[in-house]
Symmetry: C2
Subunit: 241 residues, 2 copies
Amino acid sequence: MDESARLMTVLRPVRAGNAFEETVERLLQAIKLGVVAPGDKLPPERELAVQLGISRVTLREAIRALQDAGYLDVRRGRYGGAFVTYVPPRPGPADLRKAVADMGTDDLADALTFRLAVECGAAQALAGMELTGGQRDTLRRRLADLDGASLEDYRRLDTAFHLSIAELTGSALLASACADARLRVSDLLNAIPMLQVNLDHAAAQHRAIVAAILAGDPEGAGRAMSEHLEGTAALLRGFLS
Amino acid sequence: MDESARLMTVLRPVRAGNAFEETVERLLQAIKLGVVAPGDKLPPERELAVQLGISRVTLREAIRALQDAGYLDVRRGRYGGAFVTYVPPRPGPADLRKAVADMGTDDLADALTFRLAVECGAAQALAGMELTGGQRDTLRRRLADLDGASLEDYRRLDTAFHLSIAELTGSALLASACADARLRVSDLLNAIPMLQVNLDHAAAQHRAIVAAILAGDPEGAGRAMSEHLEGTAALLRGFLS
DNA sequence: GTTGATTGGGCTAGTCTCAGACCATTGATG
DNA sequence: CATCAATGGTCTGAGACTAGCCCAATCAAC
């Protein structure tokens, strides 16, 4: 971890790949994170191309690829669009083992550390701010949504809850980092079977996180988030054996 | 902060600009952060192009731009290369006011929040790990370097200290995020006059951070880092008036 | 000196990406 | 049933970017 390590950090690749590949990845993220729920449609191509900062041609190639892969159903004409058909599969233990194996050991550790740091940091930062009534309401609402969620909707609303914490800080950079962190483990999280005991446990931790944030207790919020994330992290590390 | 906010977060631009602009930015970061110190040279074009994932042609355009702007001195032949000539200027109060004004109010708040979250998260994550002797040594060495630094070298070694914390976690993603966070405030930090009282204060905080990390105390590390960063953040916010 | 390795400088043919214009389809509305 | 607004589908010319190649300059070593 000498000087050269820092060179690697700063002089990392300027572009992750070509525009097409990056776009596919981005859209896949939006779909897998449930930002656009199954049955919903993506924004119109012209708008989306502007948002993503790419040309319509490139965007269409990406959409086409996702259509071929079965994630989207594209319909023409007014009220048409690219509709999400992907529904996250119910996982079994074999899937989890495979998902962990697909990701390198180093990549898994990297992603888990990154997620821990960035989500704890977000919770702490938010707890250290003076929140408006609207912000407090949003946070409570996300928590309530999650409490009342069906197994079908659970992952999506869990993601929404976690990302809301970062978004509520008002820092787009932080929100982006948290979304990125979540993405890197989303395949793994999706492969974890949802058992009632675990869900109850997670629900209690979610309440503790929200309570600490609303109480303006950064250290408590950080601790609660840390405990929450460490649970899944330990589970996933266990599958590395 | 409704659903559409999350769409904005995930469906953000795929590319920040063209390859040339991004490369200039990246190299400028390496220079301003002191990753390549004044008098040092960048890696050979062929290597650097591979590291950055761009063609040599594009890289050369970027280097040319930085040369024209007076940051680099390019020499041909064996033992030649692109040598860093940039030396961070000694700032005055007017510079700081201007630097703060140049950045939007929102961008400043965004950057400060991001930095707080990500650096506190890194310190906590590192404190929560079992460290090898080598890692502990690296951390102590960076602290000692900083303690013995001349005003000339202070910013560079301060950056090195902060980035080391993230790098030592072993997470490339986290290191990258911290480097990014640092970059976004580096112009501001460089514009802050270095007064002896402040330096002494910072040194004490640095020692507290290291002590907490070495003691394996995540909450203490997070708190110490938070206090350390909050000092500069408050100073910068003061110049928003 | 001469040599040879290393490095920046420059060229070209080909691919990727873009902006903008125009076409085709759909379905709600009158 | 005709209309029309919204949306996906397609084409084209221009510019950005790349890979690969060879040239030019420099300087340590012999």
